[in-house]
């Protein structure tokens, strides 16, 4: 556990870095965002995440990621940003018309 340490760890918990928690509920599934929590370091973040998000065996694996390390697309430009896929319905199988009775297609 040598993930990013904040430069200084303040003693007030509210100033502790925020961590995003991802939980894999069982083998074969990907990790899914569960929520976030404050912790002074990665190890404490993992332990707290276990207590907070897996009290009922909801997970077999947890990732914690410093929230500050997440780069997100801007909500203001969502239309422009995702526009390139908007006019390409031919990427979907339902775009194509196939005669009745043709199977396995």
């Amino acid at each position: 556990m040598t993930t990013a340490q904040p430069a200084e760890t303040p003693s007030r918990p509210a100033d502790w870095p925020l961590w995003e928690v991802f939980v894999r509920s069982r083998r074969g599934l990907s990790h899914t965002h569960a929520g976030s929590l404050h912790a002074p370091d990665a190890e404490m973040a993992l332990r707290n995440a276990r207590d907070l998000y897996t009290r009922r065996s909801e997970g077999v694996s947890i990732w914690v990621v410093p929230s500050a390390q997440v780069t997100a697309s801007s909500p203001d430009e969502k239309d422009a940003f995702f526009e390139p896929s908007g006019d390409k319905p031919y990427r979907h199988p339902t775009f194509y018309e196939i005669p009745d009775g043709v199977q396995h297609l």
Binding site: Q5, R12, A14, R55, D76
Partner: protein, 316 residues
Amino acid sequence: MTTIAPDETALEAVFDATVAADERIEPRDWMPDAYRASLVRQIAQHAHSEIIGMQPEANWITRAPSLRRKAILMAKVQDEAGHGLYLYSAAETLGAGRDELLDMLHSGRQKYSSIFNYPTLTWADAGAIGWLVDGAAITNQVPLCRCSYGPYARAMVRVCKEESFHQRQGYELLLTLSRGTEAQRAMAQDAVDRWWWPSLMMFGPPDDESAHSAQSMAWKIKRHSNDELRQRFVDICVPQAEALGLTLPDPDLAWNDERGHWDFGPIDWAEFREVLKGNGPCNEERISRRRQAHEDGAWVREAAAAHAAKQGEATR
């Protein structure tokens, strides 16, 4: 990345359209200041209620009548702490600081649910809280799973799943007492007598006196009115009380065929306002206990921070 600030009317139109389409508002979306402030107020009050709500039941952990009951009660109180944390996280996505929220609670500038200002006098109260108080909370919270603010709605989904164990263990506890000795049955009845009316008050003032209701409904933070949810709760509880073999302390309780609902007697709103003002049986005790717990935990927070700083230096 945006350089030109789109004018507020356009942003508001997008916000209104999102809410109207029953889609969720997410943390980085533009939202009206009043929407943000209203959510912070509600989510903080909800979070505070969860952690203050640990106290009345924790009062009985050491005196639980069996190891089974003790383990259940500890798990429940631990859940309440977890619920508080989900909710504080949701409030933080709106820009509220964790310390700031705790300060507001400790100084009485933000409130928590009045129900927790009543004392837990007997073991049966642990059952009555689970059945009635958590039952009322679930009735309130299920519609919040569809609240227009995404992080709050998601926190509620998690909370509701966990609350159902809380309610069932309380019901089972009362059922066991009700089927026990005459003294045990009387203890269960007494607890129900004391918790019934305060539980009905948990839904808040009647619709025509509720300060925030109309706006919250328009924003789809709230989906049903206080009186609607209260009626739903009464209708659910009557047959459950019957199955318990206990009575609800309301002589006016009667089935109304025309309405298709149970009629119930008037609620003592003067008592509600007094408790809200800070004059309930336990207001002072709950807050001073909370402050004390926070101060007592200071060394743990400091130690964790010192350890993190030291490890950080070692790996750098």
